[in-house]
């Protein structure tokens, strides 16, 4: 992908809101996790993500092509997931009811991450024809 900074942030919010929510609606009944807590986690991925995107944007400047390879989009889920987990354990995430078991968090976060990543790498272009030519900007 060849994102610009504002495009990264817009795409993250949009896909977490749409794809992340759909995945969460389906997954929660299968996990020891309340809807409220699951959606707080989603919101945290989006909000903390602004900081991550700033970092990714900075790192991307060292690349001549100013691109963000597909694999990076997948692997960045690891540090993002770990940081969020530590924040949850430290009680630094507001609005959360009960911290979910580690495995449930990992399944929820992991499935949402992969689904969002897959959507961003193809299907997103079908309704939003101009999106890929505008660095990921939707508006």
């Amino acid at each position: 992908m060849v994102p610009i900074l504002i495009g990264r942030i817009q795409t993250r919010f949009f896909l977490i809101a749409l794809v992340g929510s759909l995945v969460t609606l389906v997954l929660v009944p299968l996990l020891p996790l309340s809807y409220r807590d699951a959606f707080v986690v989603l919101l945290a991925v989006a909000v903390i993500g602004i900081g991550w995107e700033l970092l990714y944007h900075l790192l991307m400047q060292f690349r001549w092509e100013k691109d963000w390879p597909t694999l990076f989009g997948l692997l960045t889920g690891v540090p993002e997931g770990l940081l969020l987990w530590f924040l949850l354990k430290a009680g630094a995430v507001p609005l959360i009811g009960a911290v979910p078991p580690g495995w449930a968090f990992a399944v929820h976060f992991g499935v949402v991450w992969v689904a969002v990543w897959l959507a961003a790498n193809g299907p997103m272009r079908v309704p939003f024809l101009r999106w890929r030519f505008r660095g990921g900007r939707l508006v």
């Binding site: 992908m1 060849v2 994102p3 610009i4 495009g7 400047q61 060292f62 001549w64 092509e65 100013k66 691109d67 390879p69 597909t70 694999l71 997948l74 193809g122 299907p123 272009r125 079908v126 309704p127 939003f128 024809l129 101009r130 890929r132 030519f133 505008r134 660095g135």
Partner: protein, 509 residues
Amino acid sequence: MSGELTSRLLESPLWTDAMVHESGIEVRDVPFVTVGGGIGSFVTVDYLRIAGVPTGQIAVLSNIDHPWQTYQYLTRVSQIPVPERIRSDSSSRPDNIWGFPSYALSEAWRERSVRPLLHVLGEPIFADYWTPRAGAVFASLERESARIAYPDMLVKGVVRMVRRRAGGGYFTILTPPAGTTSTKRVAYRSRFVHIAVGYPGLKFLPDLQAFREEHGDFHHVVNAYEPHEHVYESLKTAPGTVMVRGGGIVASRVLQRLMDDREKFGLQTEIEHVFRTFVTGSHGPHRWSRRKGGHGFAYQGFNYPKSVWGGQLKAKMRKLDGEERAAEYRRMGGTNTPKRRRWQQQMQAGRDGGWYRAYRGLVDEVQPGNRLTSIVQRDDGVQRIASDFIIDCTGLEADIADHRLLSDLLTNGGAGRNPLGRLEVERTFEVKGTASGDGALYASGTATLGGYFPGVDTFLGLQVAAQEIADDLARRGWAPRLGPLRSTAQWIRWSLNRPVEGSASWSRS
């Protein structure tokens, strides 16, 4: 035969309906005319058809039968046969305006293999960029061409000129094949014209041009973009030395062919490779602007840094004019080639074996004789280098004024040049200075290189242009704007290979 261009028409930059009528030239009315009929015309028409424009509203004026014909010819002679892979990103598909599914996904599906997908996942870190096979590109274009009823819009002939029409719009003068029409010329009267005529022509290196003209030798000194199979055939019958000039993708292709043949047929071919600019490593002004390079080459996956097609560089260039824009083109420009693992291995073997010699040099002249002698200024002085053949891989392009249609636009149509000397276009790809009433004249492709959008002469660049043009036509109230719902519905039709339909909102006649 009546219907010839009169001197009054030739001399006047603005034509009235009466003037054309007087000449006896047959007039045909179509709202949108695209000139060229190559990939540039095709992707533009594809976009408009998917947006809902009926075939009757579009005419493609072209001297080729299929949009991929010229491209296919150029890839074949420049050593990319049908099974080989071209230099284009997986999601740059001229037969699919969405770029999804990508070529890699289609290939994975067709061959029931996850390998293309794993390759794309690992690129460009763990693998070279995945690129599609030339044959797959042609086959998919053929399918899409039939789906949008492209042949119904195609009119064969040579376009002589486009002139503005008094009252708005344009006249496009077509010379159809002799005997197919009642008049020698036909005038297409349209509100919109799109010009995508491709490369104005090949240009040779000056010393090679001089040699060919002076000695009439078109056998030993060839351009990589013209048929030159005889060079490879000759090397199979007798050992020889080939001088390769240039450091771009075509030089890489030619080297691969020479080295493949050497390996496959046990040949003794020796290669002298002359670079005008010899890149020895990473280069660029600062840490955030540095491109990889080595052994003479500047390395880059595609023709431009990837973000020109949608990211940071696209956004940046869109704001630049004049000298600032030219400077940005210089910063990211320059001849380059992908760093492919196979090519690296072959060249290393050649250097180790002493049969591949690459260096910086400026060639003063080429002299004839039993063998060709190039007088080369090298870092360590002037040298005389002998070879049996010289292959010019520099891919220099002729000036746009060498193309008759473009030259007429510059002289009579109000068009001007951009900081790189080509056609100056707006961000919408309308050619600046050519507006005519409520009509507009657009151009895309290599003739517009140097504009607000850099990657024009590529598959994806042509699609970016097509989108800008289609959106501009929608703003002018002519074509329907392609929104998320119709886009999705049309994508489903594409997937099922169902023909496109006109939009329900199409009410213009």
